[in-house]
């Protein structure tokens, strides 16, 4: 089975800086987003080598260039990282904290701003350990625009900053991604480093549930244990 590989703080900082450069040159990342990723990388360099944490500030999240929806409304994909904290943890999940979100921030102050929020379930919380949840953006002019229901908490493999950047690039900047990123070796190397951090633990859980001759589903395997 594939092992989790936790990059050192320096390796992740270099990967974040490289991500910032590549996505800025392709006009996917905004200059502010470039600064935000650079700041996160600089802070990472001050972290311990093996057990590091990474974040962005609320005053300067990772913003991408603006896009328009079907009604020609302009929005800005925005990644916020409250905290991602990792450690080498053998067979266990390498994340101590994992709290990252993607917001589509519409310029029009009255529009609904979709937001997807990934994090670890609290030990006493019913739901999958690593989950994706919709909502959580407090609309300044109309708090009622946000969803009133917190569920479902989707069972998902963790994604770090780089994997979420890849998702944003492939979905919202599809032509550029197809033309200049999808098969670019230096970019895919960066993404593969994040894949080796994020996916093996989830893969092992999935494999184990598929292989299990006894009772229990994959969701059951991933559900927070009391």
């Amino acid at each position: 089975m594939i092992e989790t590989v936790v990059p050192s703080n320096k390796e992740m900082a270099a990967a974040l800086k490289r991500t910032a450069t590549i996505l800025s040159e392709l006009h996917i990342l905004s200059p502010e987003g470039n600064g935000s990723l650079g700041g996160a990388a600089d802070r990472l360099l001050r972290e311990p080598e093996k057990h590091w944490a990474c974040n962005t500030t609320k005053s300067q999240p990772i913003t991408f260039e603006k896009r328009t929806d079907r009604s020609k409304q302009s929005f800005q994909p925005t990644i916020g990282v409250d905290r991602i904290e990792v450690r080498e943890n053998g067979e266990e999940l390498p994340f101590v904290k994992w709290d990252i979100s993607l917001l589509l921030k519409f310029d029009n102050g009255t529009a609904h701003c979709p937001r997807w929020h990934f994090d670890l379930g609290n030990p006493d919380q019913e739901g999958p350990k690593t989950h994706l949840q919709y909502g959580g953006y407090k609309h300044p002019n109309n708090p009622g625009l946000g969803p009133s229901v917190r569920e479902p908490r989707w069972n998902t493999a963790p994604m770090d900053i780089i994997l979420l950047c890849e998702t944003v690039s492939a979905n919202f900047f599809h032509e550029i991604w197809e033309r200049s990123l999808r098969r670019d070796t230096s970019w895919t190397e960066i993404v593969r480093m994040s894949q080796r951090l994020c996916y093996p633990h989830y893969l092992r859980t999935l494999y184990s549930s598929l292989n299990s001759s006894g009772s229990g589903t994959h969701l059951d395997h991933c559900w927070n244990r009391q």
Partner: protein, 383 residues
Amino acid sequence: MKQGVYLDDDDSQREIYKGLLSDENIDFSSTVIPSSMASLISDIAEISPDIVVMDYRLDGTRHPEWHNDFKAGGVAQVLRDKFVESPESDIPLVLLSTEANIQSLFVPDKTSHDLFDIWFLKNELHEDSPIGREIVLPKLAALVDGYELIKREVSGDDPAILAPGLLALEKEEYLELQPDGLKPVLLNSDGLPERAHVVARQIFQNVVKHSGILLDRDGLRARLGLTVESFERLCQSVSFEELRYEGVFSNGWERYWKHRYEQWEANSFDVLLGSLTGEKRALLLEEKFDVQCEPAVSRWSKSSSEYFSFACHVCRQPTEQRHSVAVFEPRLLPFMERRRVCYDCVETETEMRRMHIRVSETDEATVDAIRDERLPKPTEGEE
């Protein structure tokens, strides 16, 4: 004492500004009359000044024996060509003109912008100006000192230490900082230093004047999210001197290293101030340093529950990203921050127009919505 030359085709203006430009650092008493390009260049070469300041219009005076059909841009171009041939004579070129000439002639003449290190308005040297000689003249002296330092550094043997030398950083600290995109604009394709005026322009325009690796006082205050008064009080108790930039041009422009600020922040607090609202930052600063701290207030939302991030490029007040638009900046290097303008200055419009600020294409619709009053002001903070 340094030597300066002031060029003006009008005799009385020339005498007035030679006097106003002179101080204990630079003597502008030499007279060069712009009667023809050839004589002017030859006179300047003879004086061998440390700085040349010129009025924009040098073609306003008609004289039967004069051939002065040129403006400051033409003179600057010829001087810059000369400096390429004799790099040791490279000096700062400064434009000093009236608001009308700057706005109607210099601003549209984009080809000559890069020839001058900086421009000032003539009335900024007058006693009744809010800027005044005490602000302008030290900047001229700083340009002269800066060019001397640059000329020394570019003639050094090791191009690898050019940037740390100019920025007055130890090599180790520079290696930690590694501003992405700076080295390629200081060194040419052979890896050798560019000419002094090219290096001066890159450092001055992209490092000193533009936030990125350095912060000015307004930028520092914005990161702390404080009012002017509280920031000044805090500066009495907290020494930001260790954060000070001491490299080229630092004696004319007060700047602070952003990476040292971030280190100070990390040493002082368990949280990043940028993840707190202005209100919470002020409470934390007050508690930590025992100084009364009032949070800044967003000019748009009138609230301190904002995540202040930078100083608005127009009003210089602490501003939050969500209530600001990006400035159109086609020549942004990777280490530079894109400048932004608060919604309030977009709405007011006047100062933006005077400063010839263009907004990024992607924010043009937001500008229209603000000015057409279609963008509602927020009623409460965001979580």
